[in-house]
Symmetry: C2
Subunit: 216 residues, 2 copies
C-alpha cells in the first residue's frame, strides 16, 4: 500500500463533516484519506478507479443511501471493509448492514480514537461496534427481557388454543382444527382470559407476544 499508510475512502454528503474527519484522521500517521464521495452513486463509481483498504460510509445520504450503496459495493467487492457512520436512532438499519457484510458501525458522535480503533480492527479482519451503539442495541432488548418469564400457568391445551387465537382463527375454526366443539373452545378461551387477566382478544394477543408464546 501507498507509502505504508492505510487508504481510506470517506463517503458523506456533508462537506463540512468530511473535511473535519479528514483533518482528524490525517493527524494519525497510519491512515490517509485518498478518496471522498458525497453520495452512494459517486462512491460506487470512485470504487472502480480507486482501491482502498477501508470505507467510512454515511447511512443517510441523498441520491443513493448508504444501505443500498453498501449492498452494491459488497456484491462487487466482497472483501471490501466498510464501516458505517450513523446518527443515534438509526439502529433499525443495522440488520441489513450486517447481512450485507458491513464490518463496523460507528455513531457520528464517537470520538476520533474510536474511529481509529474501528479502522484498525476491521483491517485486522475483525469487526467494530461503537460503544454507544452497543448499549442502544442491548437496551432494545428491554421489552423482551422484561416481559419474559412472567408466564402464567396455562395448560397445554389452553396454550394451543391461545396460539390459534393469535393467528386469527375464530372459535368455530379452532374447534374444527382441534376436533372439539366450538363451545369447548369458548370455555377454554374464557379460562385463558381469566388466567391471563385479559379482557378480550386484543389483550390476549399482546399477552402472547409479550410472553413470547407466538412469533410476530
Amino acid at each position: 500500500m501507498n507509502d505504508g499508510k492505510y487508504q481510506i475512502m470517506l463517503v458523506d454528503d456533508h462537506t463540512l463533516f468530511r473535511n473535519g474527519l479528514r483533518m482528524l484522521l490525517n493527524n494519525f500517521n497510519n491512515f490517509k484519506i485518498v478518496a471522498e464521495a458525497s453520495n452512494g452513486k459517486e462512491f460506487l463509481e470512485l470504487l472502480d478507479t480507486t482501491p482502498v483498504d477501508v470505507v467510512l460510509l454515511d447511512i443517510a445520504m441523498p441520491e443513493m443511501d448508504g444501505i443500498e450503496a453498501a449492498q452494491l459495493a459488497l456484491k462487487k467487492y466482497p472483501n471490501l471493509k466498510i464501516i458505517t457512520l450513523s446518527m443515534y436512532g438509526e439502529e433499525d438499519y443495522y440488520f441489513k448492514m450486517v447481512s450485507a457484510g458491513v464490518k463496523g458501525f460507528l455513531l457520528k458522535n464517537s470520538d476520533i480514537t474510536e474511529v481509529c480503533n474501528a479502522i484498525e480492527s476491521v483491517i485486522e479482519g475483525g469487526s467494530f461496534f461503537s460503544k454507544e451503539l452497543l448499549f442502544n442495541l442491548v437496551s432494545n432488548l428491554k421489552s423482551s427481557s422484561e416481559s419474559h418469564k412472567l408466564d402464567t400457568e396455562l395448560s397445554e391445551r389452553e396454550l394451543e388454543i391461545l396460539i390459534l387465537i393469535c393467528k386469527g382463527y375464530s372459535n368455530q375454526e379452532i374447534g374444527e382444527q382441534l376436533f372439539i366443539s366450538k363451545r369447548t373452545v369458548d370455555k377454554h378461551r374464557a379460562n385463558i382470559l381469566a388466567k391471563t387477566n385479559c379482557k378480550n382478544t386484543a389483550n390476549l394477543v399482546v399477552f402472547a407476544i409479550k410472553n413470547k408464546l407466538v412469533e410476530f
Copy 2:
C-alpha cells in the same frame, strides 16, 4: 495489586469449567485467579473478604443466578468490574445486566484471547461485548427492521382507533373516548380491516405490533 497481576474472581457452578478457565488464564502473566465461587451466594460472601479487579460471572447458576448476584454485588460495590459469561441464546438477560452496570459480556464459546481482551478492556474502564454476541444482538433487530415501513396508508383517525383497539377497548368504549358514535367506530374498524388485509382483531393487533404502531 498483589505481585503486579490483576486479581480475577471466577464464578461458575461447573467445577470443570472453572478449572479449565483458570488454567488458561494463568498462562497469561498479567492475570491471576485469586478466588472462585460456584454460585451467587458464595460469590457475594467471598466478595466481602477478597477484593478483586474483575469478576467473571456465569449467568445460569443454582441457588442465586448471575443476574441477581450481579445486581446485589454492584449495589454494594458500584465500581466492581463484572464480565458475564453466558451460553448462546441467553441474550434476553443482557438488558438487566446492562442496567445493573455489568461491563462486559462473553459467550462461553469465546476463545481465550477474547476473554483476555475483555478483561483488559474493562480494567481500562471500557466495556466488552463478544463478537458472536454482537451479531446475535444485531440479528435480533431483524424482525423490527424488516417489518418497519411496510406501513399501509391509514388515516390519522384510523391509526388512532387502531391503537385503542390494540389496547383492548371495545368499539363502544372507543366511541366514548373519541366522542363519536359506536357505529362510526364500527365503520372505521371495517375500513382498517380492509386496508390492512386483516380478518379480525387478533390479526389487527399483530399487524400493529409488526408495524410498530403500538408498544407491547
